[in-house]
Assembly symmetry: C2
DNA sequence: CAGGATCCCGTACGATACTG
DNA sequence: CAGTATCGTACGGGATCCTG
């Protein structure tokens, strides 16, 4: 997502990691804000997964995007990639300790989202009718 | 952000709000995941703000994007827009009760982000040197 | 002062095909 | 099985100008 993209560029003298220190919120959102990040994390929270398992668990994701997200999460130390040198290839992904710290974030995101959505219905009776009837 | 954009389209028979019910996490991220959303919310958590106040508080934001974000948040019932019919125009934005429910989300996002960033340094001493020296 | 109208661009994402 | 390469697209965001 790169929420603070333009900000990062406004002063090239500041190394990136130094910049991120001042924007922990944006950093976290960068981690989980990409389209499939949450799905991948949720899956790995339930256990280690092989690539094709993730593919099946996330219907619609392309292999390109999956590996892209996995690489990014790995770079941030959120997940770990373990390669078994076999034929055919065998790769297994797992959450790191660091990655597990994201669990409360996901929990709150879900909890608050549910509450907000229920209020949305309360405020928009017409919307409900559109489905309920 | 529209994290679940493609998912929303995969079956047009499902009205959007019905779909969102099943994806509270993605819904919440949609709310706060856009580039300036957090900044706007943080500002409004500190009190009501006029448009130009927000502009100054968010250096770099364009008027187009600011109003765009404000409109979106308003549609979701997160903020309220109050117009004082004066010349020159006077518009004031405030958080709704619903909007205040996002506060814990922001808090966790910040807290976890900070912890993750500190770990990032611990694992990457070279990075630290780049700045610390 | 608030914000609409245009034009432009980078990039995240997607579809498809191809390798070891 | 896991992953790369290529090409195409949509959309968020930015710059600038203009109006009541």
């Amino acid at each position: 997502m790169n929420i603070n993209k333009s900000c990062s560029n406004h002063d090239s003298n500041h190394p990136k990691q130094q910049f991120d220190q001042n924007y922990p919120i944006e950093y976290t959102i960068d981690l989980i804000g990409s389209k499939w990040s949450i799905g991948i994390l949720r899956e790995l929270l339930n256990g280690n997964r092989r690539t094709h398992q993730l593919t099946k668990a996330l219907p619609g994701i392309s292999s390109k995007i999956l590996t892209l997200r996995l690489r990014t999460l790995e770079k941030h130390g959120i997940i770990q990639r373990k390669v078994y040198p076999e034929i055919p290839p065998h790769v297994e992904y797992s959450l790191t300790e660091k990655g597990r710290e994201l669990q409360p974030v996901i929990a709150i995101l879900k909890q608050v989202g549910q509450r907000l959505l229920s209020q949305e219905d309360a405020f928009c009776p017409l919307k409900m009718n559109a489905k309920v009837t």
